[in-house]
Symmetry: none
Subunit: 203 residues, 4 copies
Amino acid sequence: MGEKRTLTPVTAEQGAPVRDLAARERILGTTLRVLARVGYAKATVGGIAQEAGVGKATVYRSWPHKAALTLDAVRTRLPDVPVDDLGDSPREILAVARALAGLYGAPQVRAILPALISDAATDPELALRLRTDLVEPRRDRSATVLRRAVARGVLPPDTDVLTLLDTWAGLMLFRGVVLAGDVDDTTVRALVAAALDSPPRLP
Amino acid sequence: MGEKRTLTPVTAEQGAPVRDLAARERILGTTLRVLARVGYAKATVGGIAQEAGVGKATVYRSWPHKAALTLDAVRTRLPDVPVDDLGDSPREILAVARALAGLYGAPQVRAILPALISDAATDPELALRLRTDLVEPRRDRSATVLRRAVARGVLPPDTDVLTLLDTWAGLMLFRGVVLAGDVDDTTVRALVAAALDSPPRLP
Amino acid sequence: MGEKRTLTPVTAEQGAPVRDLAARERILGTTLRVLARVGYAKATVGGIAQEAGVGKATVYRSWPHKAALTLDAVRTRLPDVPVDDLGDSPREILAVARALAGLYGAPQVRAILPALISDAATDPELALRLRTDLVEPRRDRSATVLRRAVARGVLPPDTDVLTLLDTWAGLMLFRGVVLAGDVDDTTVRALVAAALDSPPRLP
Amino acid sequence: MGEKRTLTPVTAEQGAPVRDLAARERILGTTLRVLARVGYAKATVGGIAQEAGVGKATVYRSWPHKAALTLDAVRTRLPDVPVDDLGDSPREILAVARALAGLYGAPQVRAILPALISDAATDPELALRLRTDLVEPRRDRSATVLRRAVARGVLPPDTDVLTLLDTWAGLMLFRGVVLAGDVDDTTVRALVAAALDSPPRLP
DNA sequence: AAGTAAACGAGACGGTACGTCGTGTCTTCCG
DNA sequence: CGGAAGACACGACGTACCGTCTCGTTTACTT
């Protein structure tokens, strides 16, 4: 990464000129709109720039790739993970699982995420951002809910929290994106029930 | 799809000369080699054709897409799912889970699968092939192992076999492809143990 | 030159594919039309390609530059130098001088030639073509008329034929292109008269 | 032109502060240096500004074009036409002709002049400046030498002085710039001799 | 054995998007 | 508050692939 362009440079270093923040916002918004309309594969940087009323160079000045642009655009608009302490771990966990199902069930995510993952395969910088900016923050927040359940004794102390979460995320990803199917609420409840009954354990 | 070309026409219908066969093999082999060398995104149909000593048209005559070509090339080379009856369901199930982990841990799969999934998002025909030719046969074979376990009473009668399998596949996919990490054998055993203890149930 | 692309490659070398000659003609015709409409500076390769119903690559496949394309387009359409033997050298010479005046007085030439000369300053290949394909053939043909006059004794034996011609061409060029003025027929006759009276001599 | 900027504003018109002067000189000098180094076509305003340690806006404040800048830079550095009265018209005229040959033989002039002429084709303002600032002053000064010769009876009273000069300038331009050749001193003397013997006459 | 029809290699074709560069204007911050 | 620094909208550049389409040539099946 640390090459010529980072993915989030924004403000000037010292002297004078400052990136046009309004333009950046407009670009990100337009990006989402275009992605929703035509899909990732058919979206073009030039098209986004034009629709945002911006020169192509202005886009490339801030993002090296369509992928980086997409990542930035998507990042901020995702619904958050519910982590509130309801005093009732099973309910909290169910809320987390449902959020996960909703996320991977959303058409935008289905349309965009695989493309990002695919591009990440040939762009380590993008792969890193995908993990650190998108996946891990949400994973961490979800984990706090499960750790709270462990603290309450609802889950055993040696519960492998991350594996459990990745298992769920994986299921949603696999069904939503690979199989293009849904994960209905009954299944979500069954997953949660199975996990509460016997979660994967740390070695 | 019912368009002009199917994805696997192969032999001529009647009196006409067919010299394909060797060429087809050469193309599929070259495709894999090129994919391994430069990755899906940077592989080009023209490049593959040239390296295979074949005209571009010959490739397009058999496959409508880079994606279809990739799918065909990958399909036949995947290691099979072990479904042998060992008389010991836990061992059989562990073998299935390990095969799954090995599959998604393979570099070629990590490099290629996300791209296929991504292209499938805008190509229903490809999406269908991806499911019917790649995912479902393996999923079905894996399911027979689990159903045998149900028949033996190792798993409860209302086990949601497909959800269980998709959960595992999803975890491997998520960890292998999104997180670019591994699923070690300890984790695989923990997953199997948790499933044997309390699998997801049908409603 | 002899680099990757010559300026007039055209037909295939051996095997099969042949450059589309109709397309070439269409491109050259369109080039002239566009040059006449918007001038050299505002003409673009992309615009010409589009108007000719041709991909940009097709243009670049045959001509490395807008300049080369222009040169080729212009070359064939210039009115020829009158070299007929009228049995009357003064009349023949006047015809040559008038042709020269007409050439540099033509708006297309005024619009295009300086640009070609300018581009030739940084492109030796183009400079060569400009001389060998455009200037020298016409200069040679004009010279035959003057040499005929020498043979007839109308001009002295040591007449510096090429300098005389270049002097006339230069005047037309200078007045037509630099001063954007005309060389009227009276002046042309005066030039011819002065030359017949006392042409530049070889040393 | 009557637009916002003239090509030679230089000093402020009324109350405003002007600190330009040094910057202007630096810009013009840098312009010549860059032109000499990379040629007109590859010279960029931004590059010149940077090398002169000046903002682009500072350049555009004084010159609307690369062409105008070039014209200004070139204008002042040209060697002057020798017009001294030597009491010997043939010698004076030869000096003028030699100055002309030297001018169009200079590499900088060959590199820059055609480009200016070319740009002038689409910019009437520049065309005007090119004539009034560059060509005509020198032409006028040369003409005084020839008019002196007429007054002395060395040339006939009806000599077409301007046509004669333009003929010479044209030859130098044509040979130097179009043919990329030289006009050697022998030829220059032959031209002068022919002109003294029989110059073009006014009608 | 000759005739015929297709499938072949090669690669030109019309397009589309790419990422870069230069233009001339406009804005920000420093001295 | 003038000027350097450079971001901005614009648009052309020349390249790379796409998927289609000719070209001759090379088989392998007829007759």
